[in-house]
C-alpha cells in the first residue's frame, strides 16, 4: 500500500493555489472567512474542475467578496439576489459548476424569499452561507440569525426577536444536502464543502464563520473549538431527514458540525429536467426567430 494515497477522485492533480486569485482579502484580521476561503480552494482542487468551468456568485456583505478571491468566473451581485442570478447562470449554461456565497443577512433576510424557490426547483448549485449572526460590513447591526438578547448598535437593550434557524429552514423546504461547518475544524469544513459540491442538486452549507470585530469572544474560533460536536461522533445517520431536523433544532444552542442530511436518492435537478424537456420538444417547438412573428399575429 502506498504511504500517500493520491488516487482520484479524492485528490486529483488540481492544486488549491490554482483557484487563488492575485487579489488579497481585506477582511479584518482574525475573520472566520479566511479559513472558509482556504476550504473552498482545497475543495475545488479536490473536485478538479478547471477555474473556467466554475461560476461563483455572491450578494453583498463581507463574505460576498469571496468570488473576487478566486480564479473562477465571479459575479459580486446585488444584496440578497445571488441565488436568482446563480440559477439563471446554471440554466443558461448547465455545464458550469455553480457556487453561491453570502452571509446570513444576504441569505435569510433580504434574500430569504429566494431560498425556498432555489430548493424546490432543485437547481444543481452549492450555497455556502457564512453565518456570523451580525451585519459586519455595515458595522454591527442585528441580523436574521442574531440570538435573542444580543446587544448591538440597533438593539442597545438586547434583541427581542427569535433568530431564523437556517438549518431547519432549508431542511423544511426539502433541500437534498444540508451541512454545517466551522473554521475551527478545517479538515472537516473542507470535507463538507467538497461533499456539498459533489451532491447532484441544491446543496447548502451553513458555516459558522465568526465576526472578529462585532462578535463576542464566546463565538470566536477558539470558543467554537471547545463547543463543537461532530455529527459523526454522535453516530448521526445523514440519510435520516427527521433525525436531521431534530438535531437542527439545536441551532444557536449547540454547534453541530458535519452533514445533517444527504438525500440517498437525489431527485432530478432542474437543469437535467430542462435538458430532457428540450430533447423531447426538439423539432416540435417554434424556432426562436419565429416567436416574435407569432406574437404579432395574435394581436
Amino acid at each position: 500500500m502506498n504511504a500517500v494515497n493520491t488516487s482520484p477522485p479524492v485528490l486529483p492533480m488540481a492544486q488549491a493555489k490554482d483557484y487563488k486569485s492575485e487579489l488579497k482579502p481585506i477582511w479584518c484580521p482574525g475573520c472566520g472567512d479566511f479559513g472558509v476561503l482556504q476550504a473552498i480552494y482545497r475543495s475545488l482542487a479536490a473536485i478538479g474542475r478547471p477555474p473556467h468551468e466554475i461560476a461563483f456568485v455572491s450578494g453583498i456583505g463581507c463574505s460576498s467578496r469571496i468570488p473576487g478571491y478566486t480564479t473562477t468566473y465571479g459575479f459580486n451581485s446585488v444584496h440578497g439576489r445571488a441565488l436568482p442570478i446563480a440559477q439563471g447562470i446554471k440554466l443558461a449554461n448547465p455545464d458550469l459548476l455553480v457556487l453561491v456565497a453570502g452571509g446570513d443577512g444576504d441569505g435569510f433576510s433580504i434574500g430569504g424569499g429566494h431560498v425556498p424557490h432555489a430548493i424546490r426547483r432543485n437547481t444543481d448549485l452549492t450555497y455556502l452561507v457564512m453565518d456570523n449572526q451580525i451585519y459586519g460590513l455595515t458595522k454591527g447591526q442585528l441580523s436574521p440569525t442574531s440570538p435573542r438578547g444580543l446587544k448591538t448598535v440597533t438593539s442597545e437593550y438586547g434583541s427581542l426577536e427569535e433568530p431564523v434557524n437556517p438549518l431547519l429552514y432549508v431542511l423544511a423546504y426539502g433541500a437534498g444536502f444540508v451541512a454545517q461547518a466551522t473554521p475551527a475544524d478545517m479538515p472537516g469544513m473542507t470535507e463538507v464543502v467538497e461533499a456539498a459540491i459533489r451532491y447532484p442538486g441544491f446543496s447548502f452549507v451553513n458555516i459558522q464563520s465568526p465576526c472578529v470585530t462585532f462578535g463576542s469572544e464566546e463565538v470566536q474560533v477558539k470558543a467554537q473549538r471547545a463547543q463543537m460536536k461532530s455529527l459523526k461522533s454522535l453516530n448521526h445517520d445523514p440519510t435520516n431527514r427527521l433525525a436531521a431536523m431534530d438535531l437542527a433544532q439545536h441551532y444557536g444552542h449547540e454547534l453541530h458540525t458535519g452533514i445533517f442530511y444527504q438525500n440517498p436518492s437525489p431527485p432530478p435537478t432542474l437543469d437535467s429536467l430542462v435538458r430532457e424537456r428540450k430533447a423531447a420538444l426538439s423539432g416540435k417547438g417554434v424556432p426562436r426567430q419565429k416567436i416574435f412573428d407569432l406574437l404579432l399575429q395574435k394581436q
Partner: protein, 178 residues
C-alpha cells in the same frame, strides 16, 4: 494511519522522501500564512506587527529551503506525491490568531503557539512511523521546534507587558444632545 490535521497520509508507511516533502510543505505553509498576516497588518496600519511577521517569513523560508535541498540531494527530482492539500495549519498560525490591533507581544505569542503545534505534530507523528530514517527526521524536527519555542520565549522576555486595553481607544467621542 493519519495524524490530526493531515489527509490521505499514512504515517505508518510513509517513506523518507515523502516525509521530507511533507516537512518542506509544513514550513512553506507557515511562511505563506506569515506573509498573509504581514499583508493584513500592513493593510490595517500596524507596522510593528507587520515587521515581526516579515521576519517570520524569512525564518520559515530558510527552513523550507534547507529541507528542500536535503530532499533534492537524496532523491533528486523524483515527482512529489505529498501535496499542500493534504495538510492543514500544522505550523502555520491559525487565522484566528491575528487581530488588527495586535501588539508585537501578541504576534510573538501567536508564533509560539504555532511552534508548539508543530512540536505536537512531529511528536505524534514520530510515534506512528515505522521507517527508521523517517523516525530520525521527525525526531530531529521535533527537537528543532522545541528550540524555536525557546527562541520565541527569550524574545518575549525582552518585551514589556502590553498596556491594559479597556477598549476606550475605539469609543466615539461624546455627542452633545442639546
Amino acid at each position: 494511519m493519519t495524524v490530526e490535521n493531515t489527509r490521505a497520509i499514512d504515517f505508518e508507511t510513509i517513506t523518507l522522501m515523502d516525509a521530507l516533502d511533507l516537512a518542506t510543505l509544513v514550513e512553506q505553509e507557515a511562511k505563506e500564512r506569515y506573509s498573509e498576516f504581514a499583508h493584513q497588518m500592513t493593510t490595517h496600519h500596524n507596522p510593528d506587527a507587520a515587521r515581526f511577521f516579515l521576519r517570520m517569513i524569512q525564518i520559515e523560508s530558510t527552513h523550507e529551503v534547507r529541507l528542500a535541498d536535503r530532499r533534492r540531494k537524496l532523491f533528486g527530482d523524483t515527482p512529489k506525491v505529498v501535496r499542500r492539500e493534504m495538510i492543514f495549519d500544522i505550523e502555520a498560525p491559525e487565522y484566528d490568531e491575528a487581530r488588527s490591533d495586535m501588539s508585537v507581544r501578541r504576534a510573538l505569542e501567536a508564533a509560539l503557539t504555532s511552534e508548539k503545534k508543530a512540536f505536537d505534530f512531529f511528536d505524534t507523528a514520530v510515534k506512528r512511523v515505522k521507517d527508521e530514517g523517517v523516525r530520525q527526521l521527525f525526531t530531529e524536527l521535533r527537537t528543532e521546534e522545541e528550540e524555536h519555542q525557546g527562541y520565541v520565549v527569550a524574545e518575549l522576555a525582552k518585551l514589556p507587558p502590553d498596556p491594559a486595553n479597556d477598549g476606550s481607544a475605539y469609543e466615539d467621542d461624546p455627542v452633545a444632545l442639546d
